[in-house]
Subunit: 148 residues, 2 copies
């Protein structure tokens, strides 16, 4: 069980933007890609999802870039994951249309897994982006991200 790269990178982009100085600076995907050493092409799609979900503003063109559209303390980590994961169908019976497991109609496991998934997201929703970027180590976080 792993987060998708799409969700992982979504969180990294938000952390980068909330650590950018001066605050609110518009940042290119190229800059984020270099800072983390990850694919710029993938980041472009990640930024698109984040924009669709209202977390970032993206402008195109030569001077274009990405910046936060919400305050870090208003961005709940569980909601970011819920919006960024291509699928939260833990097992095939979460999707009736494609399910092949014959016992789905009488199996209590599905409800248990759904409850587990909600616990996971609820726990993450106790935290916001500010709990990652407005911390004692902020100076070091900014230094690492800017030194790439």
């Amino acid at each position: 069980m792993q987060l998708s790269l799409h969700a992982d990178y979504s969180l990294r982009v938000l952390i980068y933007l909330a650590s950018a100085e001066p605050a609110g600076r518009s940042v290119s995907t190229q800059e984020i890609s270099v800072a983390y050493g990850i694919s710029r092409n993938h980041l472009v799609r990640v930024v698109q999802t984040l924009a669709e979900n209202g977390y970032v503003k993206a402008t195109t063109g030569r001077t274009g870039g990405v910046s936060l559209a919400m305050e870090p303390k208003a961005i709940r980590i569980g909601e970011v994951v819920r919006g960024a994961e291509p699928t939260l169908k833990l097992v095939e019976c979460f999707d009736r249309r494609t399910n092949t497991c014959p016992i789905a109609s009488v199996c209590a496991l599905k409800g248990m897994l759904r409850e587990g998934l909600e616990s996971f997201l609820t726990t993450l929703n106790q935290y916001t982006l500010a709990d990652i970027t407005t911390v004692r180590d902020r100076g070091e976080l900014v230094r690492i991200l800017q030194s790439a």
Copy 2:
């Protein structure tokens, strides 16, 4: 985010064995493979993991088979998942040796994800195999699995 097929199939094997009648009957992987319409080769590896974790007894040879080694009410669903998932490393920084994310040393996200994962497993551990197989619908569950 999805459970691995290995964990999914592990749970299916346990459900099958706890639904087998008469109780405690030794079952071939072939029989389980037909009941669910899933790969027998994969089931062989799944049974191996379940045996290593003490959930089943497996005997080989022509009359060999698999049966539960524990009471269904003693088998906690979260523990089965923990033992069956090839990885519970939600993101790359869960493994220091292979991590490439430069902010890992100062990033609070990792602890949040760990806490979320523990909430997921703790919620599943509120339930046992008996909560799936000793239920009102048991008759229907047994009928479906035996009719394949």
